[in-house]
């Protein structure tokens, strides 16, 4: 890109012309995301069974059905639990660990590596390992329960336990991401602020509240966005840990779509769930983003 003085070069003296740089990305999105999504939207108005060549249009029937379907309403609730539950725990654990590991001590590097390690493992595999861990008859956890003289507990057979298990497994696996992000954020806070605070006689908690948190704000936005989307999209872990059970009680919208599409042969209905999920995640994330951005300005 040497100093060519052609019209092209002239064009790029206009700032707006750089907008062309996001065109390749938009093309990819158009082809591989929007096109399939619009197709899905079309399917959501049909009674397609998911594989046959013929189907009929049913108007808004699938969407009306959605709000009468107690399995679906329950899946919305679960999706929100997974999304917000995981995000909250990941922030708490990630931040607490990051603050501790921000200090020099023996084994600090080792701790950082180990806590981040599960992020590298595929969620499917992690789910299977935790399934072995929580298994009723042959699970590692129940081995301990029995050793302590108690009755075996069917961890994944009770709705509430199973929901908690899913949140914990996903939290443990991905809290390393929050830890790393917060660690990076913490190291960017100049020491002088803490020194000043100390001179002014601030307590640890005050220093945390008035220095650490405001400075970490950008890190919080990044970490929350990544974790929230991960939690709302959760699929693999649920599939291998509970498969949506007991019954339909731990399905997220994603896993319910899977069952409805492939098992119940009701692709039209499943597509309407997909459209709903997309809209829901979009609204949740945009709202949250606005709230967080607002917070940033106030600091």
């Amino acid at each position: 890109m040497e100093q060519r003085k052609g019209w092209l070069s002239q064009l790029f003296f206009k700032k707006e012309a750089t907008n062309i740089l996001y065109v390749p990305a938009l093309i990819l999105f158009a082809v591989f995301t929007f096109y399939p999504l619009i197709y899905g939207l079309k399917i959501s108005f049909t009674n397609w069974n998911g594989y046959s060549q013929n189907y009929g249009y049913v108007g808004f029937l699938n969407y009306i059905e959605l709000f009468k379907d107690k399995y679906f309403l329950n899946a919305i609730k679960n999706t929100l639990i997974f999304g917000f539950g995981c995000t909250i725990f990941q922030q708490i654990i990630g931040l607490a660990v990051a603050i501790t590991l921000d200090h020099k001590f023996f084994g600090r590097n080792f701790s950082r590596i180990v806590i981040y390690l599960p992020v590298l493992v595929s969620p499917v595999i992690m789910g299977i390992i935790y399934y072995l861990f929580l298994h009723y008859n042959y699970g590692a956890l129940n081995d301990i329960v029995v050793l302590l003289g108690y009755e075996r507990i069917a961890w994944l057979s009770k709705e509430n336990w199973a929901l908690i298990a899913i949140v914990i497994v996903n939290t443990l696996q991905f809290c390393g991401i929050s830890m790393i992000i917060y660690l990076a954020g913490l190291q960017n806070i100049p020491d002088m602020y803490y020194e000043a605070a100390k001179i002014d006689g601030a307590t640890d908690f005050q220093a945390f509240k008035y220095i650490t948190i405001p400075f970490l704000y950008p890190a919080v936005i990044t970490s929350v966005t990544i974790n929230l989307i991960g939690g709302l999209k959760l699929f693999d872990v649920i599939k291998v840990l509970t498969n949506g059970g007991p019954g339909y009680s731990t399905n997220s919208i994603s896993t319910l779509i899977d069952i409805t599409y492939f098992n119940a042969q009701n692709a039209g209905y499943a597509s309407s769930m997909g459209v709903f999920l997309f809209a829901m995640i979009l609204i949740v994330t945009i709202t949250l983003h606005k709230v967080l951005k607002k917070g940033e300005v106030e600091v």
Binding site: M1, P24, I43, I99, S111, S122, F133
Partner: protein, 277 residues
């Protein structure tokens, strides 16, 4: 001397215990995987028990029957090309989106963020049909473009946040020197992007390497299979081989662990330098 240091002992003890607990919790799954991988199928002892003898058959099964090594090569190919595209296209897109805050660009940025949230399953069938029409099924380029699209939003998000934090003054000076915006991007912005690129590579690279749901369908041929579906092939509706799957999983995560250990310093440094604004 760091003042941030916790001075009171009563903070130190719970903090230390918490880190110890986390380390323990995070190592348990790896221990169980190791124990399962080194035990024969007929060993029905507790998952906590250390294998009584060295047993490598699961690894041999993973390699010979599961073709894990081929799968790792495939994953390496797909992941490296995808990462390259993710970084390039992400940096390109991040620049105008960070610098030109027009209404339209805000919509573009939000849309891209929205794309990040689409569950892969909801686009599976139309995506497969389309890939089939353009002969993209069972090809490396097909899956590369798909996973690139999947991870691109995160990359755009990180790059545009980072570029927003670079002072505009540099660019204004260059503009006065007679550079156009393409040259500014090339000469001023790109060199500054190294740290955030490290973050993008590690964050998206892991997801690409472990991608399962779409790869399973797009790469059905065993010769083209990537690592996650290759491990999945040890589970079918009427059979499963936990030992071999565990062995395959260990082999599959090994390159990432090595890479992570090797890049760990740069990674955290990259995260710090990028400040994640």
């Amino acid at each position: 001397m760091k003042i941030k240091k916790i001075q009171n002992l009563h903070w130190k003890i719970p903090a230390g215990l918490m880190v110890l607990l986390m380390i323990f919790l995070q190592l348990v799954p790896f221990y169980i995987t190791l124990a399962v991988a080194f035990k024969p199928k007929t060993d029905l002892s507790s998952r906590w028990m250390i294998p009584t003898s060295i047993y490598f058959d699961n690894f041999l099964t993973a390699i010979s029957r599961g073709r894990i090594l081929t799968a790792m090569l495939n994953s390496l190919l797909v992941t490296s090309v995808a990462i390259l595209l993710i970084c390039l296209l992400g940096a390109f897109a991040g620049y105008p989106l960070a610098r030109i805050k027009s209404r339209f660009n805000k919509i573009v940025l939000m849309t891209i963020l929205g794309v990040m949230m689409i569950p892969p399953l909801s686009v599976l069938v139309p995506l497969y049909s389309m890939m089939n029409k353009i002969n993209g099924v069972n090809t490396y380029w097909g899956i590369i473009l798909i996973v690139t699209t999947g991870q691109l939003p995160l990359s755009v998000f990180l790059y545009s946040s980072f570029i927003s934090s670079i002072p505009v003054e540099l660019e204004e000076a260059a503009l006065l020197d007679g550079c156009n915006y393409i040259q500014i991007f090339n000469r001023i912005i790109l060199p500054l992007l190294k740290p955030v690129t490290a973050s993008v590579i590690i964050l998206t690279g892991i997801f690409v390497w472990n991608e399962y749901q779409l790869s399973l369908y797009i790469l059905s041929s065993p010769a083209k299979r990537t690592i996650a579906p290759a491990i999945g092939a040890f589970f079918s509706q009427s059979s499963s081989n936990l030992g071999a799957a565990a062995a395959a999983a260990l082999l599959g995560v090994l390159p990432l662990v090595v890479l992570y250990l090797f890049l760990q310093k740069y990674f955290i440094k990259g995260m710090i330098d990028s400040a994640l604004k």
